[in-house]
Symmetry: C2
């Protein structure tokens, strides 16, 4: 058993700030009271402990209260991604069969038999429920859908133990201080955002929540000293660096850690970030591990360029394969115990190891290098080509801001790599070809180059390579 | 399973300083290598994984290496208190039946069939053993003897989970930073010291180890900024404050926490400590909970004078009794799962709660006030002294028929033990003193002896110790 997270935290530090959103603040005591009220209104609507509740909402204070309210009532959450299409949402609802669907407002296109807005709940009466002082470790806190290697979304269970052990492992790596404030600009329906709420109650830490990523506002808040830690993906980091460069400003020393997910930060950005005093901690995580598994300390960023660091204290990583490079496997109390719905019978672990489908290697010091997602592996004439490798080469060209590479079927080679680039200045295909020939072995060179306006990205802002060919 | 603590830490941060002792330093990588070497030499001597090893040593770097060496070989440790008498040590050895006894040098009075000094081990060859990358959570790491209410010392098991969850709960309360250094002047055979070694490997934190408490050296080291956290008992705090006052100095802001156990700090010391910028965190802990259960934040020290604070995140406290005041009961993953030896059949938990025998109450905000240690426990200079143990020793003297021991307030030590004896034949106080010195550790010896006609007893014929002092 672990303690009821928010109840315990509200008991320990009721007057500490828990949440800041749009100029309003909530202490942990207030957050608990509002969550409890929400739970009582849900209960009056017939919701019982143990039921499953899907939530579709923007990242705002109401969502934070709703999440904690559902958890107080001992319900499990299906966190829906608001950027999905109606078809995709319907698939997840059909697969997870929640007892009710909660939405932030009735503008939402999605329909469901038991569908209520937050306001519907608030307009309801209250009914006391039995508050659980302790929660079983194996209790499911949240369910998030992820495509994995197959492309078919699977609902991943994230248990209380998963969240608690991930948050404590992260604390041991990054440090934790009673005055910390984590700036959250990543969505709460994604594990990168949800895990910030979990850290908040475990550490007694303030969260400053933004619904949208605005690099100017982020920089203002950090320069004020009001935020000490933050999570984002590589592409957002670049925009923050640009703001600092335009203003000729630097992050204050009070800022502790910039956790960067979604693939390695290219050297050029990294050097510019370091120049601006941003402590960049690159990380490798996923839905199935309730966020971080490995993290690279900022002092190792240059020396171990391209690495995602070492496993957190309670996590273990090994490479499965006969070569040095192979499938990344993960073990630890933060790894999911299973799926729901159609994928329920699939066992995620083999001998307690999660086989991620991602390809990587550990160097001689034990640092993990994630080379690619297996689904994106291009096999051309029997040779392995990793798109990420070509992309990293392409962005080294001064005209290229972003690049995506994917494989296309080819009669002769099986598959060949095709490149897509977003450029800031005039450049010809021949110039790119010539440049790439200096960077990459000839058998791996892209067979075509396409100029596009923006890369296709998912809700977590990750590049979706399988969408690239549709842009031609 | 949790990771093999030192192996994991040495893998994560091999070059960070783990230990500083007498001007020498060890990185985590070096500490692991030396522990591994020690384990290989033990193994060559026939020691197998799973065996039980008793250690009797001063707190020095050799002991740290020996502790980690034994743990690497997956042995469990009986930590012997070097201040105990031969009779007391023999009891613990007889009760725990270790496969071997390790001592720091052959000056030790204790004999045992399998008795080796650290040097004996070092002069031995090496033999490779199978290194366990993961350790079961329920594995016993350490065994420490504590007397409990009966006066008969019981060997308390401290599991891996006990240590890990205590250390992580402590980190969430106190904060943790990669540059921390914990100054250890409390003995490693005691849970207050041993728990610092556990925090060290979990946090990747430096330990500065002193064999003896020298308040001048402590102050020098903290003023240098070389130590950021420290544990001690109330009586030592007073000496540190005096040094600062004599020198008219203050602790630097870099110093984070002074964890004070062994009973509440009197207001007069507390105010003087605050005046010297010492962040005093009073704490309530015991052998059965692998150290801290509750801790009072320094900002609450005056407002909640006399309190031991609130339970750490993973710990729970309730009061058993019909009144507001009653027996303090503790629950959580840091609570021992049981005893060894003669007490093995005793179950420490009732419905997962440890009944401490200590008396206290929780105020309306949930702060714990420890009113009295088990009626019969005397805390003298932070050390536990059990009257029943002294009484049992006294009646071994042929002239003594009955004995009663109780604590009397003392400005320096908090409390000191006072003995009352009923004798059948002529005996002098000096004869009793000499006899007791052969039976009992010197720090536990009665400060006064009184001859009385009969012990005060209640209707059930039980000794009423609180009546004893009225007989003087």
């Amino acid at each position: 058993m672990f303690p009821n997270l928010l109840l315990k935290r509200a008991h320990l530090t009721p007057d500490r700030i828990a949440l800041r959103f749009m100029g309003e603040v909530w202490t942990f005591g207030q957050l608990y009271n509002e969550a409890n009220e929400f739970a009582e209104r849900l209960h009056a609507k017939g919701i019982q402990p143990g039921m499953r509740i899907a939530i579709l909402s923007s990242s705002n204070a109401e969502l934070v209260i709703a999440i904690h309210g559902c958890l107080q009532l001992s319900c499990e959450l299906v966190m829906l991604n608001e950027r999905l299409s109606e078809v995709e949402l319907n698939y997840q609802l059909h697969d997870s069969k929640p007892d009710i669907l909660l939405i932030d407002n009735h503008e939402r296109i999605i329909s469901y038999s038991q569908r209520f807005s937050f306001n519907d709940i608030y307009s309801h009466e209250r009914k006391a429920y039995s508050i659980d002082r302790d929660w079983p470790k194996e209790r499911t806190i949240s369910i998030m859908y992820t495509s994995g290697t197959t492309g078919r979304p699977k609902g991943v269970r994230q248990s209380l133990e998963n969240h608690v052990m991930n948050a404590t492992g992260s604390a041991l790596h990054l440090g934790v201080h009673p005055d910390d404030c984590w700036l959250c600009i990543v969505p709460l329906f994604h594990i990168s955002g949800f895990s910030i709420l979990m850290r908040s109650v475990l550490y007694g830490m303030k969260v400053s929540l933004h619904t949208k990523f605005d690099p100017e506002k982020v920089v203002d808040e950090i320069l004020d000293g009001a935020a000490t830690r933050m999570s984002l993906v590589s592409v957002m980091l670049q925009r923050i660096v640009s703001v600092l460069e335009n203003r000729n400003q630097h992050f204050p020393d009070s800022f502790q850690s910039m956790l960067v997910g979604g693939g390695p930060v290219p050297l050029s950005y990294l050097e510019r970030a370091i120049e601006r005093n941003i402590p960049v901690l690159q990380t490798y995580g996923m839905t199935e591990t309730s966020s971080q598994t490995t993290t690279l300390s900022s002092e190792d960023a240059i020396r171990k360029l391209g690495s995602a660091g070492k496993p957190l204290f309670f996590a273990d990583v090994r490479i499965d394969g006969e070569e040095k490079m192979g499938e990344i496997c993960i073990k630890g109390p933060h790894v999911t115990t299973g799926y729901i719905g159609a994928a329920e019978s699939k066992k995620p672990l083999i001998d307690s190891w999660l086989h991620t489908g991602d390809i990587g290697y550990l160097d001689e010091e034990g640092y993990l290098f994630v080379v690619d997602r297996r689904s994106d592996l291009i096999i051309s004439g029997g040779e392995n080509i990793y798109p990420a490798e070509l992309e990293q080469a392409l962005v080294k060209h001064p005209a290229v801001v972003e690049a995506g590479v994917t494989g296309r079927q080819d009669d002769k080679w099986g598959h060949v790599p095709i490149a897509f680039v977003v450029v800031t200045e005039q450049v010809t295909i021949d110039e790119l070809k010539n440049f790439m020939e200096t960077q990459i072995a000839s058998y791996k060179l892209p067979k075509e180059y396409h100029f596009i306006d923006a890369l296709p990205r998912n809700g977590a802002n990750k590049l979706v390579r399988r969408e690239l060919l549709k842009l031609i």
